[in-house]
Amino acid sequence: MKKFLNKPENFVDEMVEGILAAHPDQLAIVENDLRCIVKAGEKKKGKVGLATGGGSGHLPLFLGYVGQGMLDGCSVGGVFQSPSSEQMLNVTKAIDAGAGVLYIYGNYGGDILNFDMAAEMAEMEDIKVLSFAAADDVASASRGEEGKRRGVAGIFFVYKVAGAKADELAPIEEVKRVAEKAAANVRTMGVALTPCIIPEVGKPGFTIGDDEMEIGMGIHGEPGIHRGKLKSADEVTDTMMSAILEDLPYERNDQVAVLINGLGATPKEEMYIVYRRMDQILKEKGISVFHVYVGEFATSMEMTGFSISLIKLDDELKQLIARPARTPFFEQVQLSV
């Protein structure tokens, strides 16, 4: 295991300490618990609070989206582990500004159970809570079973849209509506070349041949839909794009935003080689592109691989995505629409 670490069991806490030390004007903790992160500064009365949470090892997911124009709070679990319902509740109480709190998280068993428990507890404290689990990974369940899909990098768009809507002081039902609309229009597909190592485990979560790739692998190493010889960047992109395009489906004259997300070790050079091919495909299909995000948005520590997400935009979604945002991990100026 070649990592810059002190004691593996302190990995998450030391990471959070570093983040808080680096960005003291942007992030804070509540209940003196390093696993309960909130946006620094005053909360805006009447604004719906947006909370997320999930396992560590995916930076900028999840806490990296707490900031202006995005989320208000995040509970932080161990590596690939759900945070506890108590931590979620503490974040919920801290960010509620009287308009209720919307939970947006990835569709994973442990997270769902804990957010459900937290929601029940919050209601007992008279905080209105609505919940929404993003499930954008096309590879993880077939059409018709969308509810079983895992949540992966596409959740970025859901955060972005919900964050912009909440900033308008929209009521919680409206914020949830746009979050759901964003999620309904996002599809993601990933590919991995190498595993990653959970510090406390000390060895890779799975093995894969020196010349192999796995298309559809999840961000914790969940099984994909095809393991085989590593193909060319264009061929890999073709396979992933056709699965995505067929799924929604995305059609001629649609407008989309694109997210190419690195899983950790894949260089940006390669991601742009992938985008080159995506651009050809989208042009061929008559699908126009509003904006392209390329970078690391949802990682698996040092895993090699990337994912592609498309979101189909209507005017409302486009306006919300275009809105400025600023977190320690993501900055965007107002995009011209």
Binding site: G77, F80, Q81, S82, P83, S84, S85, E86, Q87, G109, G110, L113, N114, D116, M117, S140, K148, R150, V201, G205, G218, H220, E222, P223
Partner: protein
């Protein structure tokens, strides 16, 4: 004895701590096949915390002791099974709250509420290849054995749990990470259902 007192409940928590520690590696191994391999750690963390924080409790209400144990588990082990166990103990404890002693009928109520809580929280039902498939048969056996002494009833419940585990092997997983393997999950032993059998075993105080 016709019923369980506070010392018995603490002894059960101690048993469970011991059993899940002993079975840590075995559960890790099972969960590694199609899951993330943390189940052994989860269960031992959950029950070690529950025992250690409750062993000196002043509380005398059996229901509250069980509920508190659940709340401790939720904090200590927020993975799927940790949260489901926590839910089970909290709902089961609520079902027997006020009791200073636990008779077989109370045990039946506890486990019925326990399983119902898990099913509600997990949106799962028998046949989904989960912990429910070992715990539900056990709870139903207890329900049918209200007239018997607790230890006898629990031993019968253990047999039902084991049978449930056995029959779950052929099911296709519907929940959790193992469900990503779909058809391939048939034939594998569900780690959560296995943990369910161990849970019942922990309640048995006589050899």
């Amino acid at each position: 004895m016709g019923s369980l007192g506070k010392d018995d409940i603490i002894k059960i928590l101690s048993n469970l701590k011991q059993l899940f520690n002993d079975n840590k590696d075995a559960l890790v191994e099972l969960d590694s096949r199609m899951g993330d391999g943390d189940l052994g750690l989860t269960m031992s963390k959950a029950f070690t915390a529950a025992h250690d924080e409750m062993v000196d409790t002043e509380e005398t209400d059996m229901g509250k002791i069980l509920m508190k144990a659940g709340m401790i588990m939720a904090r200590a082990a927020p993975s799927t099974m940790g949260t489901l166990m926590a839910t089970g103990f909290m709902r089961g404890g609520k079902a027997v709250s006020g009791r200073k002693e636990i008779a077989t009928a109370d045990l039946a109520d506890f486990f019925q509420a326990f399983v119902a809580g898990i099913m509600e929280r997990g949106k799962s039902k028998p046949g989904d290849k989960t912990v429910v498939d070992s715990l539900k048969p056990a709870a139903d056996t207890l329900e049918a054995s209200k007239g018997e002494a607790p230890q006898k009833a629990l031993k019968e419940a253990l047999l039902s749990a084991e049978k449930g585990l056995e029959s779950s092997k052929d099911m296709i997983a519907q929940h959790g990470r193992i469900a990503y393997y779909k058809e391939q999950s048939r034939g594998y032993q569900d780690p959560g259902a296995t943990a369910g059998v161990i849970l019942i075993k922990g309640f048995i105080l006589e050899p």
